[in-house]
């Protein structure tokens, strides 16, 4: 037996567990339950509730099983009369002031206090005095209700705030006999991860205001599903009653979310019942060709396929295109690329406006690899706003596992506080920094880093940190990079890999839910699914047949430009909103208006949908089944929960495919998993993915190798005017858009438009805090208030994307180079 294993006896059962395990967890591992309140495996021991008392041989008193490490040959007894008496006594005390309102308590039915009392408690109480009267059901925040009478002061929530979220926003006031959970000065507890305290509260003291009095927990139909808001794909349970959305709870999966979800996951699902939902298909009469006004979705899908086919027949396959969404599932995206490639014969397929290509020169690390690294290097990523659960994971490993953190970014983020080294490069100089770092590692000496804003000794410290590490996990957000610099970054990765003493992998941290899946499914003009380049004709024809197109197609931005020039006639936009989210703003809208046929397949009446000739409703997350691939390359099943008669997207797409198929009926898929099976067959890297293999914890797919990307450091663009500043558009988690609309439960998180400036620039422009300004680029203006926060280096501004209405992407012309803006006082 290995030295780090300890063998002990619990209730006559022999248990062997790793050294350092607590007795309570050791018992759990063999199915022996020791009741607890304050103990939570993610929070570690505290020992304040005394519920877990057990008898240990040779120890004179009862011991708390949650604070005691296992010892060799320890003999633990959990059901002796002495233990049972103690449990009864502890529960009688715990219940002294607890109100008997279980019949109206939301926790009822899933309440550890209720369960433990039933199993271990006394049937009666000797409490004759008045019970303490305290705050009954007050708001702790706009989304959490606090009932101080029910609180048993176990401190799980306050320790969560201290240990996990690490902001100490929730604390115990008046420590001692009158202690109570509270915030500073009774301000709302409205952090990004506040909702987790509801899940871990072992009584009904902290409850979900949205779910309050909506349903009894045992009446809910629970679906094991995934969050659809970001690339973390956290696991959660969707509770439904009478086909109505009720609530969301975390469903721990250590490999993905470490047991937590953010507040956007918990309360960001009002869109399921949004007024803005697209509920029926619509066609707009266009030159008299579309005559029927209220078709069924199936009719509209058939008409869509026929209309696109007609344009292909008249103008050739290069005249049609598809803009997909990194929010679609693998099945939906796979079917769409297949429809356009095989049905319409075009590679005009894309889902993004920034540069990136499938595959990595190093391993694609799963999220859990952050825990075993000794250096985490975060590049251009802002986990807190983009992939919130990653923020918790990084904080955990840095503060509790001694992992080193280095941050390389053009803007300040909350990660800087935890970083051992935080380097800030000038906006737009990312490629220069990566190239300089590559040169420094290869020993070619220092490249010119004058224009990057990073000093030579800083770069040297980073190289030293890298060289001193055995295992490096690199987290990078390619959607926050400029031009082709992602290719330069991949060269850097290859260079790090060449250092023999370093094991290195990367997590591509693009924020969108299925950004990795969209690349894998070949929603790209120059790659087939599985990262097979269009140039690889042989491999393509083997899988996709003789007719599969092997000419590179148009990128999303090129499609918009060709629509403008009239060369692109028809475009199908799937769950994307180019008018708001693409660089160009008004120009994108004008271009789309010129199309002969614009089909929008979406969940919402977006700005792009308003221009469509045919509108196809999409059920989306919460309703449709499908798989998504998270930032760690882990494929998991996202089950729907709500039922609808409206066909799922995969059915709509396969109906279109069958309409244009020359073999008549084509393929009929029975469930979304039928598509998953086809993906396993046709997409390299997904061979092992099946309903069964991803059932429990999901499964990582095999990442494709990167094609040697070439990206040169482009010359620094010069400002159009001396006072122009470089623009960095930042993400904000709770942005006000179609997903979180005005009626959203999270509306209290909406923020005004703020432009972050460096003090030196503000001084030059004679601006001070809270000045009302417009950020101007060409004809586009975005209103904002000045905040002199030094969030970026001098010469740039950071503008968080806080709402669709704000229209920040209208300022940018393209992602090819940095955008220059002027700040004008109004």
């Amino acid at each position: 037996m290995a030295d780090d294993q300890v063998t002990l006896t619990i209730d006559d059962q022999t248990v062997s567990v790793p050294k350092g395990t607590k007795v309570v967890d050791a018992a759990k591992s063999v199915g022996i339950e020791i009741p607890v309140f304050c103990y939570h495996e993610k929070l570690g021991p505290l020992g304040c509730c005394r519920m877990c008392l057990v008898e240990v041989e040779k120890m004179p008193k009862l011991m708390t099983a949650c604070t005691m490490d296992v010892g060799p040959d320890m003999v633990v007894k959990t059901t002796t009369p002495k233990v049972e008496k103690a449990q009864k006594g502890v529960l009688e005390f715990t219940l002294l002031n607890h109100p008997l309102d279980c019949p109206v308590c939301d926790k009822g039915g899933e309440c550890p206090l209720q369960n433990n009392t039933f199993k271990y408690g006394p049937g009666d109480t000797r409490m004759d005095f008045h019970r303490a009267e305290n705050l009954k059901a007050g708001p702790l925040s706009p989304v959490i209700t606090l009932d101080r009478e029910r609180c048993i002061a176990c401190q799980r929530c306050t320790r969560y705030s201290e240990v996990i979220e690490q902001d100490n926003a929730l604390v115990m006031h008046n420590r001692g006999f009158n202690n109570e959970v509270g915030t500073f000065n009774n301000e709302p507890y409205d952090t990004r991860f506040s909702g987790n305290v509801i899940d871990i509260c072992p009584v009904g003291a902290l409850t979900n205001s949205q779910f309050r009095f909506k349903a009894r927990t045992w009446d809910l139909t629970n679906s094991d599903t995934l969050c659809a808001h970001c690339g973390c794909n956290c696991n959660m349970t969707l509770g439904v009653r009478t086909n109505k959305f009720m609530r969301i709870e975390a469903r721990p999966n250590d490999l993905v979310d470490d047991g937590w979800i953010c507040d956007k996951a918990r309360w960001g699902y009002d869109f399921l019942e949004s007024k803005n939902r697209l509920v029926e298909a619509r066609t707009v009469p266009d030159n008299g060709t579309m005559v029927f006004s209220s078709p069924t979705t199936q009719d509209a899908a058939v008409r869509t396929a026929e209309a696109i086919k007609k344009i292909v027949d008249e103008h050739g396959p290069e005249s049609v295109g598809f803009i997909g969404s990194p929010y679609g599932t693998n099945e939906e995206l796979y079917l769409y690329q297949k429809l356009f490639r095989l049905g319409f014969g075009t590679n005009n397929i894309d889902h993004k406006t920034y540069a990136d290509s499938p595959g990595l020169p190093i391993d694609h690390y799963d999220v859990s690899e952050i825990e075993t690294a000794d250096l985490v290097l975060v590049i251009a990523s802002d986990p807190t706003e983009e992939l919130p659960i990653l923020d918790l994971r990084i904080k955990k490993v840095v503060t509790r596992h001694g992992v080193k953190l280095a941050v390389l970014n053009d803007q300040a983020t909350l990660m800087d506080k935890y970083a051992h080294l935080s380097l800030r490069y000038n906006i737009g100089s990312d490629a220069g920094v990566f190239a300089a770092l590559t040169a420094a590692i290869s020993g070619e000496g220092m490249a010119d880093i004058k224009t990057t804003g990073i000093k030579a000794d800083q770069l040297k410290s980073l190289v030293e940190m890298l060289r001193a590490s055995k295992k490096v996990t690199l987290i990078y957000n390619s959607s926050a990079l400029t031009g082709q610099s992602v290719a330069v970054l991949k060269q850097l990765m290859a260079m790090i890999k060449n250092i023999p003493s370093i094991e290195c992998g990367a997590i591509p941290a693009v924020p969108h839910t299925n950004a990795v899946g969209a690349m894998d499914m070949g929603i790209l003009p120059d790659y087939y699914p599985g990262g097979v380049p269009v140039a690889d004709g042989e491999a393509i024809q083997q899988t996709w047949g003789e007719t599969a197109p092997t000419q590179p197609g148009l990128s999303a931005m090129e499609m918009i430009r060709k629509a403008e020039s009239g060369e692109l006639k028809a475009l199908l936009v799937y769950r994307a909103n180019p008018v708001v989210d693409f660089p160009g703003g008004k120009q994108v809208e004008e271009a789309l208006k010129k199309l002969d046929l614009l089909v929008v397949h979406d969940m919402f009446e977006t700005e792009t949908a308003k221009l469509a000739h045919i509108l196809l409703p999409s059920n989306g997350p919460g309703v449709d089944d499908g798989t998504t691939t998270n930032i760690g390359g882990r494929v998991q099943f996202r089950k729907g929960g709500l039922k609808t008669a409206h066909p799922p997207d995969w059915k709509i797409i396969s109906l279109m495919a069958n309409t244009v198929s020359e073999e008549g009926d084509g393929i009929n898929y029975i469930t979304s998993f039928s598509v998953t099976d086809e993906i396993a067959k046709n997409v390299p890297g997904y061979a092992e993915i099946s309903k069964k293999s991803i059932k429990k914890e999901g499964m990582t797919r095999v990442s494709s190798a990167s094609i040697n990307a070439t990206g040169a450091v482009s010359k620094e663009s010069s400002p159009p005017k001396p006072e122009a500043l470089k623009l960095r558009i930042a993400n904000y988690l709770f942005a006000h858009n179609t997903i979180l609309d005005a009626t959203s439960t999270l509306a209290h998180h909406f923020k005004p438009s703020i432009v972050h400036m460096h003090a030196s620039d503000a001084k030059k422009l004679k601006l001070k805090n809270e000045d009302d300004v417009v950020v101007v680029s060409g004809d586009t203006q975005v209103s904002a208030q000045v905040e002199i926060s030094n969030r970026c280096n001098p010469g740039g501004v950071v503008l968080p994307n806080i709402s669709d209405e704000q229209g920040v992407w209208g300022l940018a012309n393209s992602r090819d180079s940095v955008t220059w803006v002027e700040i004008r006082k109004v």
């Binding site: 100490n168 926003a169 006031h173």
Partner: protein
């Protein structure tokens, strides 16, 4: 808005030097004490300021502050009387003396005189059991109290 006085700032500089790098949170109690002395109570603005200086959340500062009876959340009088009511003092008749003091000052226990001169609080053991009954006024202990002695002490303070 709260601001530390100039003297307090000098003291803070000294206090912070006592603790090693990365351990400045240890200065929390000394800084709360400075605020209590300066303002005769600790208000939320001051807690926020201390949190900012020591890199602590204001909620954490408040949670510490609410534990200690030496810090109060509303202004106390120029003289804060902490009257021991623990066992030794009680056996020696502190209850009557406390009632006497309250009557003399014409306030409830826990209250403050209108002229903001005296505040009277019950206090648990102040570790002067050999001299009970006893009270503490600001930083001074008064032991072996009698009603006359209390009258004399209160009269001598201006």
């Amino acid at each position: 808005m709260f601001a530390f006085s100039k003297e307090a700032e000098k003291k803070i500089e000294k206090i912070l030097k006592k603790y090693p790098e990365g351990r400045k949170r240890s200065a929390l109690l000394p800084l709360l004490t400075l605020v209590q002395r300066q303002e005769r109570h600790v208000n939320p603005d001051a807690m926020r300021e201390i949190g900012r200086r020591l890199d602590l959340s204001p909620a954490y500062v408040q949670s510490v502050c609410s534990f200690y009876t030496m810090y109060s959340n509303k202004p106390v009088g120029k003289y804060l009387i902490l009257f021991c009511i623990n066992i030794s003092c009680q056996l020696n008749g502190c209850d009557e003396l406390l009632a006497h003091t309250a009557k003399k000052l014409n306030i409830e226990i826990g209250g403050t005189t209108e002229d903001m001169k005296f505040t009277l609080h019950r206090e648990e053991c102040l570790a002067a059991c050999s001299g009970g009954p006893m009270m503490r006024i600001n930083d001074t202990f008064y032991e072996n109290l009698t009603a006359e002695k209390i009258d004399q002490i209160l009269g001598s303070l201006d």
